[in-house]
Symmetry: D2
Subunit: 139 residues, 4 copies
């Protein structure tokens, strides 16, 4: 089983007047890690979109917020695949606040494979599924 | 039972390269409606934060994406209270794409009442709870 | 000479840890007003993009920040055209903080007309120029 | 003379429906690099804000857009100090699209030193000025 982690620093603009990262941004952090994972496998959205005619829009997203992060803190997103189906997949993620040694948030995001020209669900490209299989982590 | 709806137009910056509103932004749309509701009741975050010493950070968020929106479309957020507890409340929301006559997304967000100086859970101010009670919608 | 003003409320997510609207967001406020103006004239980006094959990407942007805004404040963007050329136009904007009766920011944004398929500068559609002419305000 | 460069990958959410990075985001990219520079010198906003009682809000910002970037491209922000005064400083920046070998944007941002409790201009802390001096690059 492979594991994927992606690390970066919290931007100032990511915080709000409460001084902490806005709750919507954890979904953006998840996606930043997702793109890094896909790039590392040779499949970024561009390749999916332009070369394979497929997009993977989100159909469901969930997050629990455990401990706030603030700007200039180092964050690490741990990312895995919770379910891998024919036309959809569910990512799991956990966001670590490395500056404080705490888990900041955890959640999951379900994406569905669509034909980009018709916006209709299609089978995920087989090589894409194969590339993600090592990241499958059972419940 | 009171109902709250808040209407606005999708900004260009809210869309991404797929041409549709980025999934993280539906949580921002929810919050835009939440602030409008709280303002209409005389309780915006400012009053909560500065006058009552309370903040209501998010502890859990969930969204299902049903139909994409794009820029310049008119959106309406329908907002209600699903649960009202001593120290927390769960909002329910549904985002209507009025330009297409479709439901774009629906979800819920749980917030917890904290003392803003100690970042510790406290009982929600009674008048705040009272103001929200008419928006409670069972299951 | 016509005048255009667009009013809205500052979102919580627009603020940063300093408690004020992040400087990048004033450009987004400008664009929100620009889209409202173009829609009011029957030309939103969609019509420009899809029907007329033209996009108007930004080539230069400038802003002076005069007085901070914070969340839940009412803001009004005053928008006009400073220059109207064959292939480009310069908008001028002033952002009023109505909650405090102050000018929050002022600036300008230059856009260039491009053929959307070739990403090359082209003459602005004549009816688009004509629609904007009443908003031209000399220095 | 010291030089500072900060490199990262364009997020999907940074693009808009035109498929390119939204013009407001180049100011966020500038700031991301600025924070990285300040951190590398031992002065992030947090230290300025909390330890030294100073904030450096933006009073003027300018950007010229030269060549668009899109998601998953590698970007490098080159950052320097153009002017260093008693109470203000002007950063210069250039954003390189490394994936295409082009300059994407260039601009400058002027910040002013304020006392964070009174929101009034104050002399910049001497050690902060000293730390930035090597990055001063004449016109």
């Amino acid at each position: 089983m492979a594991e994927f982690r992606h690390r970066f620093t919290v931007d100032y603009v990511d915080t709000d007047a409460l001084g902490i990262v806005h709750f919507s941004n954890y979904f953006r952090y998840f996606e930043r890690a997702e793109l890094a994972l896909l790039r590392s496998l040779g499949f970024d959205y561009r390749r999916l979109n332009r070369d394979m005619g497929v997009a993977i829009p989100r159909v469901e997203a969930h997050c629990r917020y455990l401990s706030p992060c603030t700007f200039s803190q180092e964050v690490e997103v741990e990312l895995w695949v919770e379910e891998l189906r024919d036309r959809s997949l569910r990512y799991g993620f956990r966001i670590h606040n490395r500056s404080e040694g705490k888990v900041a948030a955890e959640g999951w995001v379900t994406v569905v494979s669509i034909d980009i020209s018709r916006f209709e669900a299609v089978r995920m490209p087989e090589e894409f599924r194969r590339a993600l299989t090592p990241y499958l982590r059972e419940g």
